[in-house]
Symmetry: C2
């Protein structure tokens, strides 16, 4: 692998570039992004040079799409004609079915592997990029690919291989549902005058995600609405179950089961 | 104030004792608790001596009930006959209506002020006690009391005065609802095989409360079921609203409103 293009040089794309360098990649790293992002990335030494998408694709063995989902879909629509035959293209989008389906119909000369690193920070932008962002975090691939798997291992992430469908169903539970819960909780607390006066650490912790900007969520909901809907149904059913158990000894078992599940998440 | 009794020398009671000392209290601090807690508290110098409740009450100007709610109710039932006339009794229970009502019918010689410091730690026990636990945190009193308010100020807490009813309604939203949300989320994630493989920081953060032991929650739900029920209804209604907006531009406004509420909680 001699030449990598990072398309969308923000927190994730920039971190992937830094992680590749730290893991020993010595080839050239090309950035494709908005001018301010490119300027910041060049200034920080995150990328070696900046090119438009077509030219970058034409000289790259590996293309990393780290844009918002709708932009990734647009890149997929146009990239194949510019890419080298056999080049590896992957993405870092938060949902996978729409992206993998689009790639299956649009990418033929190059090879596409859907990806999703389960990592992030509260602030975005290449200024926040961090070579260790993926370390110890799950990194989902929707198909196996020896080259890509080897880099994922070298940047310290935990490889997880699953279908795009399974990915979208599971992140609806582990990521999209928590976001909606936090948004709903902040909203309910916010509509009670004086609630802020008694808010302790629990309320503060559980409303942190509600501070997230809507930008990235629009695309996530647009491309994973069915699974998010199902996750909300399962969650509301569980809340109703707990509500019925408020005055009953069954609540103790519910707490025990939930604590065991919460512990399992931390393993 | 020459002599204080801390009834229930755990995290909160022990922290209150340490905070009083740090704030300049030079009188004697008596502990009333289980033998292991008393031993640990004496070893750490959190209390000066240990006495049974009746004897401790008989020599104290100030009695601080920091037990679980049901134990506080039992202490209230018996303490008045032992307390000095005019002694100040307060508590640190997580719900206030049941406690304040019980005190109104049982405490006549002494004076009772319901209290709730919005502070805690993941681990309990006097070993975790911390003189700064209340610093910067809301400390609710259900009635005004100049002596108690002055100590709350001196230990660095933020005094909030509100009725027991308002307290219970608001903490149902800011504390009891977050607990049930976390328990329900952990349970839903736990029932999806493989979800743990893709769990990122959002799932981990939002399921932290699910690790809480049930002990303290039994009494909270038993004494605040109506408000918790209402909080669950409001939250489920909001989730249903977000679910209907998954594919609609209204979601953006919902995110903006929730973010504003989450920011207000942090002021």
């Amino acid at each position: 692998m001699n030449s990598v293009s990072i398309v969308g040089v923000g927190l994730i794309g920039g971190s992937f570039a830094l992680a590749l360098r730290k893991a020993g990649f010595t080839g050239r790293i090309i950035g494709v992004s908005s001018q301010p992002a490119l300027d910041a990335a060049l200034a920080r030494g995150v990328i070696d040079e900046a090119l438009p998408l077509a030219q970058a694709a034409a000289v790259s063995d590996f293309i990393y799409l780290a844009q918002p989902i709708e932009r990734i879909l647009l890149s997929i629509d146009v990239i194949d004609q510019h890419a080298r035959p056999g080049a590896l293209i992957t993405d870092a989008g938060s949902t996978k079915v729409a992206i993998v389906n689009r790639a299956a119909s649009s990418i033929h000369r190059a090879r596409f592997v859907g990806g999703h690193p389960m990592a992030g920070k509260e602030s975005s932008g290449v200024e926040q990029a961090d070579a260790d962002l993926f370390r110890g975090r799950p990194y989902v691939l929707t198909t196996r690919d020896a080259d890509l798997e080897s880099w994922i291992e070298r940047i310290g992430a935990r490889l997880v291989v699953m279908s795009a469908e399974e990915h979208d169903r599971l992140v609806a539970l582990t990521s999209h549902l928590p976001q909606l819960i936090s948004t709903a909780l902040a909203s309910v607390i916010g509509s009670a005058p004086d609630a802020a006066r008694v808010a302790g650490p629990a309320a503060v912790d559980l409303t942190r995600l509600a501070l997230s900007p809507y930008d990235i969520w629009r695309d996530i909901f647009a491309t994973n609405a069915d699974s998010v809907d199902a996750a909300l149904s399962a969650f509301i059913a569980k809340l109703d179950e707990l509500r019925s158990a408020l005055r009953s000894p069954e609540m103790e078992r519910a707490f025990e089961n939930a604590a065991a599940a919460a512990k399992a998440l931390r393993r």
